[in-house]
């Protein structure tokens, strides 16, 4: 068994153990810690010089079917490695955070098993080097997501929300499936393996590239809540139990972006170039229109849901620029956003646990007086999410913006990409408006309803641990972005080369 196989299957083993009576919370935390250790080991052993695209480290392959040639194949390139690190960090924080939530609704086993299943599915999808399992693992992760929202969600409408997201992401997955099948047909259909696809990928005719890329863009786009396919996300995150909001918004949603960079762009470069303008228009919808919608939110949970959707626009901008700087920015932002949104959902969960609501008018103000540690950590999270230097988010966003201007270093003429970059920058103001407004409304100002808040306790040391873990990760990468960038460069340079043609 390789380290990669271990990391994918450890959560599944933990689920089995829980089903057979092992204490759920402890088992989940042990599995998450084991995965964190394994990911650390992989990072240490990961060679920085990976030669060309398609080359993966820690490769393993188990033949399941001779014909067609179906292999349970795993391996890591730089992008996968960064996303694996993201996943194990968020998983640990997610199973650690809000222990009360699972207890209240009963069925602690299901609560932790589902979280672990989501983690396992996400890890499988990021590590698979085979198109079939790339897709199947993501589906595996979606099922517990739906379940958890339906069963453990907050709010009256949780059943309806669960159905909405199920059908919506189901449709998205089917469109994606259609695109992937078309891709397989074009590449000869003999093999699901990424390496084989890359080997024949250059030969796909331009027309087919355009058509398939559009299907994949919509399919992946729905999963990433690309405007206007985003409506499922904010209510789902608002009503999801804390670990699911953390894992889906933080980790699983990155699957669509990963798919675009890992599968669609290298195999369909002409399609990517052809649909660049469309993508620019849609991502501006994410940043500007949904940014303003975020400002209008009155509840912290929907606000975070919309903000998470909004920030996807910046990742898409990095993808649309298609050059080395922009792609590095995009992947680093996937990491940074994943950590910071998980952190925000964890802290929002702590607020909800204490106050019973996340409606900002009902919350009143001055919570920082009663819970200074919670206030301080929320402040860190808020400033990370609005891209303050020192956090990974800033480094990533800076690269995305420089990436959007890099193509005109020679011509010095502003084009669509640069205008999109300029307009997107306004989103930096928008996100500061809504985050600081929420922070101000909930934590600052005089303490309202003194009696009602008399019993409010600050975060205990145990409760601070997951937040601190995520903040340390954000700041480490923010101070030294090279920690992660060095693993990405070989892979992303190859992709940028293939896009240049």
């Amino acid at each position: 068994m390789t380290l990669v196989e271990f990391i994918v299957f450890a959560p599944l083993l933990a689920v089995l153990a829980i089903l057979f009576g092992s204490p759920a919370r402890a088992t989940a935390i042990v599995a998450a810690v084991a995965n964190l250790a394994a990911a650390g080991l992989m990072t240490l052993r990961f060679p920085v010089e990976v030669e060309s695209k398609g080359q993966v480290i820690f490769a393993s392959s188990r033949n399941l079917l001779a014909s067609p040639n179906l292999n349970l194949a795993f391996g890591l390139d730089g992008i996968s490695l960064v996303l694996v690190i993201l996943t194990v960090l968020v998983t640990l924080a997610a199973v650690w955070a809000s222990p009360a939530e699972g207890r209240i609704k009963g069925n602690v086993k299901l609560y932790y098993s589902s979280s672990l299943l989501i983690a396992s599915g996400a890890l499988g999808a990021f590590c698979a080097t085979d198109l079939f399992f790339f897709y199947a693992f993501h589906e595996l992760a979606l099922i517990p997501t739906f379940l958890m929202i339906g069963i453990f969600g907050s709010g009256e409408n949780r059943k309806r929300t669960a159905w909405t997201i199920t059908i919506f992401l189901g449709v998205g997955s089917l469109i994606l499936l259609a695109g992937l099948i078309a891709l397989l047909v074009e590449t000869g259909g003999k093999s699901f393996a990424f390496a084989d696809l890359y080997a024949v990928g250059d030969k796909i005719p331009a027309d087919a590239q355009k058509n398939i890329y559009l299907i994949l863009l919509i399919g992946f786009g729905i999963l990433v809540s690309l405007f206007p396919f985003h409506s499922w996300a904010p209510p789902a995150y608002a009503q999801a139990p804390t670990p699911v909001a953390m894992l889906h918004a933080g980790v699983l949603k990155k699957f669509g972006l990963y798919g675009l960079i890992r599968v669609a762009m290298p195999l369909l470069p002409e399609g990517a170039a052809h649909w660049q303008t469309l993508l620019l228009v849609l991502l501006l919808g994410n940043i500007l229109i949904l940014g303003l919608v975020t400002i209008a939110q009155r509840r912290l949970d929907t606000l975070l849901g919309y903000s998470s959707v909004m920030h996807m626009g910046y990742v898409f901008l990095g993808i649309a620029s298609g050059n080395t700087i922009g792609l590095h920015g995009a992947v680093l932002l996937m990491f940074a956003h994943g950590i910071s949104i998980a952190l925000l959902f964890a802290l929002a969960g702590a607020v909800r646990e204490r106050m019973g609501t996340l409606d900002m008018d009902e919350l009143g103000g001055g919570l920082a007086k009663k819970a200074p540690a919670l206030g301080l950590l929320f402040g860190f999270a808020a400033f990370a999410s609005i891209g303050l230097p020192g956090f990974a988010n800033f480094a990533a966003e800076v690269m995305v913006f420089f990436g959007s201007f890099q193509p005109i270093l020679e011509t010095k003429k502003l084009g669509a990409l640069q205008w999109a970059g300029i307009l997107s920058l306004w989103g930096v103001v928008i996100s500061a408006v809504y985050m600081l407004r929420a922070y101000r409304k909930i934590f600052k100002g005089p303490l309202t309803d003194k009696d009602a808040k008399a019993g409010i306790a600050d975060l205990t040391l145990t409760e601070r641990a997951p937040a601190l873990l995520l903040i340390v990760a954000l700041m480490a990468v923010g101070f030294v972005p090279g920690l992660l960038l060095k693993y990405l460069t070989p892979t992303l340079e190859a992709i940028a080369m293939s896009l240049k043609g």
Partner: protein, 597 residues
Amino acid sequence: MDVNTIAWLILLLPLASAAVILLGTKKSAGISALISTGSVIATLVLSFLLLAQPDTAAAKPLQWLSLGDFEVTIGLKLDSLAQGMMIIVTGIGTLVHVFSLGYMHDDAGKARFFAGLSQFMFSMTGIVLADNFAMMFIFWELVGVSSYILIGHWYDKDSAADAAKKAFLVNRIGDFGFMIGILLVWVLTGSIYFDEIAKAIGGVQNANLLNAAVLLVFCGAVGKSAQLPLHVWLPDAMEGPTPVSALIHAATMVAAGVYMLARVSFLVGAAEMAADTIAIIGGATALLAALMATQQNDIKRVLAYSTLSQLGYMIMAQGLHDGSDAGMFHLYTHAWFKALLFLGSGAVIFACHHEQDIWKMGGLRQKMPITFWTFLIGTAALIAVPGTSGFWSKEAILEAAWHDHNYLVWGLGIAVAFLTPFYMTRLFVVAFLGKPRTKDADHAHEVSPIMWVPLAILAVMAVISAYITGPLEAKGHVAFHMSLTAILSLAGLVVGVLAGWKLYAGCDRDPVNIKLFANKFYLDELYLGIVRLFQDFVGMTFDAVDRYLIEPITVRLPALAAMSSGYVLRLLQVGNLQAYGFLFGLGAVVLIWLIVF
């Protein structure tokens, strides 16, 4: 110590101090305050050591981002401009820290306050020593957040919490332009490093794009140095503790915009149209802020508007041919006397039990003699009494405007020279002279030495700083020529002081009532309206569109279509998500199987 050690220690000591307080000593306020004060004194000493370095000095850079050709380093530029600015920042920083030991002695958030000051010192040092635009932007954002933290120090006050938020957001608007400007400069010159940009600037062909780039870079200065139309955050920032106002919102951070323009003066000089705009915006800010200052009643707000006005002078100078040096000269002298005035107002506020309305003061001359005399010296420097440092640097700016034949800007500057003595005389007469108008003022007594010693040192500097410019010698020096400018500004001094004296001596309430000035030209209300429009109206419209149009189309339609097909309908009737999921996975496998083979 070699230059690398000195420079990196200057940058990192305050960061270490902030980190130690946050992670360790925040429970013991006294120790935290000493750590923070110790770190700033150490950086002051190190800054003096830096003066021995030649103008070309630089410290070994540290790599932050590196992707092929694109590289961002944290590199420290130690030329005379940076050396001079470091003396201002650490010198005033030291005095403000010491003053705060007294002023914040009983504050519940003392440790947090000193951690914030240290974090500010770190961020400000980063701006001063930056050798490239990206690094400057990084620290630009960081001073923004230090300012946010310190303005909102008393965060359980609504006004303080709102002011902090407003300051950060208005600055973000400026930074939006700043970042685009940096990107355009990068596109035009191929570099973000000041030295390389300076070399490449001559070869830039596209004048329009260059003008746009410089104006956008200037947006950053408009935000940070609170110029029109983004000046609205600075008066509100007075909600912060007074030592913060002195250090950040008078002497150093708000001058960062001026410093940045001086740092890239070659860039401004290459863009004619942009330079003219900069000069006009600076001049207009100087005049409008001076008019607003004439009708304010809060001692700190009068000083805040006067800061805006003086910053307008400095910005104006940056847009003039050969004016950048005069602007830096004024930055240097202004830092001392404005810090003095703010700390003096802090001593008054402290003595009057946190009363800030000048009409509730009066008669402080006898109660607080040291504060009285030092405040008088600071006022003299601000209104440019000949011989004080403020006189020399203001003359330099006005002369530069005259020699540039930029008579519009020159006229604005002269008008301000009449207004400044007027509103400062009003402030001084009302607050310090006459009889005490309230019990608080009557019971006021002189502050302790830990607070008045910094005042005394600053008072000395308010007079002599123009004569000891040190590393900034090339930027400005004491020189007087009889000219129209000199005559008019001296006339302004005499007329302003006499008018202020005549109108306000012995008054118990304001005999003048100009609503337009008192209400700051209603600009805050206008902006609030615009914000309301965007935040509430546009945001809610989009929200409704999202909820009632996009969601039904994208969610309900597919759902309906899916449900009408019997396959999904049956699953729905099973009513079990697990069953659906299982069948979905199975279906996917079968589908691939059928199509591919």
